[in-house]
């Protein structure tokens, strides 16, 4: 459904006479097959939205090629637009308009008759739990309702491929969980291929078959969540022991674990296949007379994956603290001026 080769987007940013070229997207290859749900994960400013905007024909690639739903995004942009649904970060419904009106007009711009757009729109309102909000002004809808309305607009013409840009940013936990259900339904109920960007690890984990990780304009990994997690050196095993037994416990853990660390009464380390190794460890500890207060085993998170792949945690990458200050400035610029300039 999506095949991109060597996609590049450069922006020119400049204060005064100094113009610098920034490669927001720097050679992205991407393949998404029909029926897949793929999450495009990366910190703010990594190039997610810019890549997406090239795929949905809002931005012409500086270099590289992409076909979406079988059509070239540059030469056959009209066919691409007809085939895809796109829900941007901001959505597309005007605050001062009625929800139903916005949906119908949007459908009509896709060439639907008014009657078809009304019928389809009302169906989608029911499916996305927006019953009774047809004549509601958009600014009077809750964040979750507004987001579902945005999705209705993106689905009005029954696209087979749906792009969602940061679908749950800014929603409260309940609204978020609810929206996840609806996103999962896109494939389950209508067989759509879904490509969504997110900087939430749990979102990628919960929704996607496959995760594509982008950092600084380049793809750094593309695999299932489980496979990505196995790249991390094992599960995190955390033992809490009585104060005098910390060093004994650390010795025993070191026998099966890497990166063993001691913090107060806690001893932790990375263990491959912890499910198999931990029972033996517990027997060892028991035999050595160590009394355990608690044992916890954590599967690697996508944050661990990101750390392994890029040397920075996602949170650091977002804050720009992973590297010296100029990196922070670049990240801020990308957010403010560059992505803005692209619009």
């Amino acid at each position: 459904m999506i095949h991109a080769r060597g996609l590049v987007q450069t922006f020119h940013t400049g204060r005064g006479k100094q113009k610098t070229e920034v490669r927001a997207v720097d050679g992205v290859d991407l393949d998404v097959e029909e029926g897949e749900v793929v999450a495009f994960l990366g910190p703010n400013g990594a190039g997610k939205t810019t890549t997406l905007r090239m795929l949905v024909t809002l931005l012409k690639p500086t270099a590289g090629t992409a076909t979406v739903a079988g059509y070239d995004v540059v030469k056959e942009s009209a066919q691409v637009r007809r085939s895809i649904g796109y829900v941007s970060q901001t959505g597309g419904a005007f605050s001062g308009a009625f929800a139903g009106d916005e949906v119908v007009d949007h459908g009509m711009l896709y060439g639907m008759s008014r009657a078809d757009a009304v019928r389809r729109g009302q169906q989608l309102f029911d499916e996305l739990q927006l019953e009774g909000l047809w004549r509601r002004m958009c600014k009077n809808m809750s964040g979750g309702q507004k987001r579902r309305l945005d999705i209705v607009m993106g689905l009005i013409h029954d696209p087979t491929l749906v792009f969602l840009d940061e679908p749950t940013t800014g929603l409260d936990p309940q609204a978020r969980a609810n929206l996840w259900g609806h996103i999962a339904d896109l494939r389950r109920e209508r067989g759509a291929t879904v490509f969504l960007t997110t900087h939430y690890l749990d979102e990628a984990d919960a929704l996607a078959d496959r995760i594509v990780i982008i950092d600084r304009g380049r793809i750094v990994a593309s695999d299932t969540a489980d496979n990505l997690k196995t790249q991390v050196n094992g599960d995190l095993v955390d033992l809490e022991v009585a104060p005098g037994q910390v060093s004994t416990a650390a010795d025993k853990l070191r026998a099966i674990a890497e990166h063993v660390e001691v913090a107060g009464s806690h001893v932790s380390g990375r263990v491959r296949r912890a499910g198999r190794a931990v029972p033996a460890l517990l027997r060892d500890l028991d035999a050595a007379g160590v009394t355990l207060e608690s044992v916890e085993v954590h599967r690697p998170t996508l944050d661990d994956v990101f750390l392994t792949l890029t040397g920075r945690s996602l949170r650091d990458a977002e804050a720009g603290t992973g590297k010296p200050e100029d990196d922070e400035a670049t990240a801020a610029e990308r957010d403010d001026s560059l992505e803005g300039a692209a619009r």
Binding site: G91, G92, A93, F94, A97, D105, L109, Y110
Partner: protein, 254 residues
């Protein structure tokens, strides 16, 4: 072309629906010219004998000027509403539909021109009510010229809004452009009252030709050189602004 008109009319209908929900804006737009008409018009009465051209009536002189002011200034604010829509993602959502990007502009221009038409009618009818005289044909032609220049300004304003996406840039640009244009177009007083150098400068303002043209047609002088050059100026403005607007809307187009 069929699809283009259909898309434009969908965009137009959407805009009009939102305008009708808040019709106060149409009145607010015409409020300033109406004040000029009612509070400044009487001041012109003793002066009107000194004015050149056919107008021997203060309101027949003033209303055409106010129409130009309405067309220039009123329409220039169209870009602000575009920025508001852009900020809420409306423009982008429209741009991922197969609808022609030109139609997204044209639909909005149709709204601006209709709004200007309603405002022009209010102004003219009010003028007639308080003593303006003019031939019917002339008034119709004058309003048409107003709509042409107003459409041009609306197109330019939408293009500027689309290009800058910032009210903070738009507002000073409009002020810098509009103030000299208004002052040098003879909208409130004829430029002939001024010293020679001022008159010479205003000779280079196409908007003064347009003001003069509307004045002449209101006074019943439909076919003269002034009317021709004013109408041509308005049409050239419209062509240039429409070209600018459409190319701005199509920018980044893949």
């Amino acid at each position: 072309m069929n699809g283009f008109m259909r898309d434009s009319s969908i965009v137009f209908r959407r805009q009009i629906r939102m305008n009708l929900r808040n019709p106060a804006w149409v009145l607010i737009g015409v409020f300033q010219p109406v004040l000029y008409l009612l509070l400044f018009g009487p001041l012109l009465k003793p002066l009107v004998a000194q004015f050149p051209g056919g107008a021997d009536n203060a309101y027949t002189f003033l209303v055409p000027g106010l129409l130009v002011q309405l067309g220039l200034f009123g329409a220039f604010f169209a870009g602000f509403s575009l920025i508001g829509e852009w900020r809420e993602g409306v423009i982008e959502a429209e741009r991922v539909t197969p609808a022609s990007r030109g139609s997204l502009l044209v639909g909005r221009l149709m709204r601006d021109v209709l709004q200007l038409f309603v405002q022009s009618l209010i102004l003219v009818l009010l003028g007639l009510a308080i003593g303006m005289r003019g031939s019917f044909d002339g008034i119709v032609l004058g309003i048409v010229i107003t709509l042409v220049i107003g459409g041009a300004c609306a197109a330019a304003s939408n293009a500027l809004g689309m290009a800058t996406k910032s009210e903070d840039v738009m507002a000073p640009v409009i002020n810098i452009v509009m103030m000299p244009v208004l002052l040098l177009s003879g909208i409130l007083l004829p430029m002939t009252l001024g010293p020679d150098w001022l008159k010479r400068v205003s000779d280079f303002m196409p908007t003064r030709w347009i003001t003069d043209a509307i004045r002449d047609v209101f006074a019943g002088d439909v076919a003269n050189g002034t009317v021709l050059s004013g109408s041509l100026a308005a049409l050239v403005f419209l062509a240039l602004a429409a070209w600018w607007g459409v190319s701005t809307f199509q920018k980044d187009d893949a």
